[in-house]
Amino acid sequence: MRERKKVWQGKRPVAVTIVAWGIVLLFLVRLYQVYLPLLQADLLEDGIHGPLTRGMRLTPTGAAVLISAAYLIQVLVGIVVLIGFLRLQRWAWVVLMAWTAVSLSITLINYFYSNPNYIVMASDVIIAFALSQSDVQRIFRIRTDADEPAR
């Protein structure tokens, strides 16, 4: 049996650890956001009694369930990405960077139009800068040599 190629054998760069902690932090924030709408609508205590939709529109209960479900999906995706990231998979870097771009865009739009979430913004900034470090990019095979980023 052929020996499995080890992608990265050296010491784990600090930036990778920072990103992992950033993902955990975002995971906790999103987890809180999963429960928040359910708590506000008293759904955890009373359960779902009323209808979720009325005609083509969502009821308040339906909206709470939908928002909660959306955040739950984000939490699940976050877990998958965290696993991929800790295993130094290239796709995990791409997904995380794209995710951070989307998250930063939403946070920035929120900043100008409503109440911004500074914790998410700060986590995104840390993740973005950490992921763009050249040694991190090399470990994830995004950058192929010292100067040339892979396309």
Partner: protein
């Protein structure tokens, strides 16, 4: 070494014309090229002569059909700042312009001389360069330019000129300087149609191009050693290729092959499509801002350098069209020129329309001997320095020169080997004397003087040792090259080239049809989307603009196969904006956190040192 047929020699007594003909280039054009080297006399006869005075007025001096080479060089006193220029195409009225364009279309259809650009220029640049390209196009509304109808009329007129007599002329000049014999081939084209015909940077009436061959003398024979082609964006050493450099220079039966850029007529050594870049002229403050941002982006953030103000243009030098030269259906009619040729030395004006373009791209060039401002052209008065050959010895002289250098260095090394120990001994003697003067107050003056002397001598010994070390390394390198040359191994033919003009690789041109279509329509779609946003949801304009721009960037990066790279860059850019916002709101707490982190770090360091 090249076979004899590839490196043909000529007797040093050969007449100039024979020399020129023996090495005359073979020029291969791109299919669709409309203009070829033409005869000066016929061109001038088809032109009118004008004067542009310092007040901005244009005066017609000699009408079309009345101008000839004798009239052209007539002395014409004029106020300082006056510019003389020719006009190949007279000012066109609306109906004449429409007629010229219609004739051009008919002509191309009849001749089947239509150019197919293949992969579009726009698809080769990103979204930002396309925005800048649009601004570049708009800039023509404000800058002087050669109208499209003039290009069409020039194409039609040139066709009729050729119909009368299809003659392809080069103007050859032979210069003997130092140990070199330089053959210069000058070509006059009636028009440069790079912008209107091939999506390039500029159009202008008339175009002068030049190719040079450098021969050295070995006994009574002249042997070709270098070929130099004038090209965009390249200067000095980068213009020339060694005659035996088969990877970079095609030679056919002793004639160098030139691949001419479509419309631009720039000369290239290899066939292909060259991506040249035009810099947009920016105000100084914006240029400073750009360089500061670039330093921050690459130096601090470690990102790939990216300059949106450089617009990619393609120069098509495919070599799949007409060929002119020895062994071809179309051959050259050579004409000898020198400083004694009146139209070369006595006409200092432009050879075509003066479009009043402040950055000169659309103004016609001056002749072989002069620049547009009337100053002498370096290619003419310094043909060796023009291609960086001043410092290159004749190959026959190379080995003796190196041997002389080596002998001189060896002698000097011998001197140094003797001198350094002697000087070092002197320093030691003085040092011993200095030591005996210490702690003797009455000898303070002598002590000071001796100290100065020792310092000077020490510095001298230091310099001699450095010289010895450097010249030993130099001697080693020199001897290695000498041994290599003596054993018949030539120098690397590319060693002198800093920037090698290389055609775009085929793999880089594989943009899909969708990418090309997107490149063509994306800017318009972006503008439509912005208009839609303004009309339908003005309240969400900033958010909408950000969303639309991001969406376009993502689509663009997908189509160009650069998604990962683009996502990385966009995210870092957004992170920079978010960092500024965070710093603006939480600068106090960020400062506190930074100080705490610094204190913790220092404490950790010191404690670790303390505990060993």
């Amino acid at each position: 070494m090249n076979p004899p047929a590839e490196r043909p020699t000529m007797s040093v007594d050969s007449p100039d014309l024979e020399l020129l003909q023996r090495y005359e280039p073979l020029i291969r054009y791109t299919h669709g090229e409309q203009f070829f080297p033409t005869e000066v006399e016929r061109y001038v006869r088809a032109c009118s002569l004008w004067a542009h005075d310092p007040a901005g007025r244009d005066e017609l001096l000699v009408r079309q059909d009345f101008l000839n080479l004798r009239e052209l060089v007539e002395p014409r006193p004029a106020p300082f700042g006056t510019l003389h220029y020719l006009r190949f195409i007279e000012p066109l009225g609306l109906s004449e312009a429409a007629e010229a364009i219609a004739k051009q279309v008919r002509l191309r259809t009849i001749l089947k001389n239509t150019f197919h650009p293949g992969v579009g220029r726009l698809a080769r640049g990103g979204l930002l360069p396309r925005v800048v390209d649009a601004l570049f196009s708009i800039s023509f509304l404000m800058r002087g330019r050669v109208p499209a109808a003039v290009a069409a009329a020039a194409e039609v007129d040139y066709f009729y000129m050729r119909t009368g007599q299809d003659k392809f002329v080069y103007y050859g000049r032979v210069v003997r300087e130092k140990d070199w014999t330089v053959l210069q081939y000058w070509y006059l084209y009636c028009f440069n149609s790079w912008r209107s015909g091939f999506g390039g940077v500029n159009d202008h009436e008339s175009d002068w191009e030049m190719v040079s061959i450098y021969l050295y003398q070995d006994e009574a024979r002249l042997i070709p050693e270098w070929a130099a082609y004038a090209s965009h964006d390249f200067h000095g050493d980068d213009l020339r290729r060694r005659w035996d450099d088969r990877a970079e220079l095609d030679v056919l039966d002793g004639h160098p092959v030139v691949y001419s850029g479509a419309g631009s007529h720039a000369s290239y050594f290899r066939p292909g499509e060259y991506q040249s870049e035009a810099n947009l002229e920016l105000p100084a403050w914006l240029d400073t801002l750009r360089s500061v941002w670039n330093r921050f982006w690459t130096g601090i953030l470690g990102q790939e350098p990216n300059d949106p103000f450089r617009i990619p243009f393609v120069d098509y030098a495919r070599g799949d069209g007409v060929a002119i030269g020895p062994g071809q259906e179309r051959t050259w009619a050579p004409v000898l020129i020198d400083e004694g040729t009146p139209w070369v030395s006595q006409y200092r004006g432009l050879w075509g329309y003066y479009a009043r373009d402040p950055i000169s791209g659309e103004n016609a060039p001056a002749g072989p001997m002069y620049n547009r401002d009337g100053t002498p052209r370096s290619a003419w008065y310094d043909p060796l320095g023009f291609v960086g050959l001043d410092k290159v010895p004749n190959p026959r002289e190379l080995v003796p020169l190196l041997e002389k250098n080596s002998a001189e260095l060896s002698n000097r090394q011998g001197e140094l080997e003797e001198l350094i120990p002697r000087k070092a001994e002197q320093v030691q003697e003085l040092g011993a004397r200095l030591k005996s003067l210490e702690r003797q107050p009455h000898l303070a003056r002598a002590y000071g003087a001796l100290q100065k002397k020792i310092a000077a001598l020490t510095e001298e010994v230091h310099a001699l040792r450095r010289e010895s070390s450097e010249s030993a390394a130099m001697l080693e390198s020199l001897n290695r090259r000498l041994a290599s040359l003596k054993s018949g191994v030539p120098d690397d033919p590319h060693a002198h080239i800093r920037y090698l003009a290389a055609p775009v690789r085929v793999t880089q041109m594989r943009f899909g049809r969708v990418a090309q279509a997107w490149a063509a329509i994306s800017l318009s779609v972006l503008l439509f989307a912005i208009v839609g946003l303004l009309l339908l949801a003005p309240r969400f304009l900033p958010a909408g603009l950000v969303t639309i721009t991001l969406l376009f960037i993502v689509i663009e990066s997908f189509l160009r196969g650069a998604f990962i790279h683009t996502v990385g860059q966009v995210t870092v850019l957004l992170a920079v904006i978010a960092s500024i916002i965070l710093f603006f709101h939480f600068w106090f707490w960020i400062l506190i956190a930074a100080l705490l982190a610094l204190a913790g770090f220092l404490l950790f360091q010191r404690l670790r040192e303390l505990t060993g």
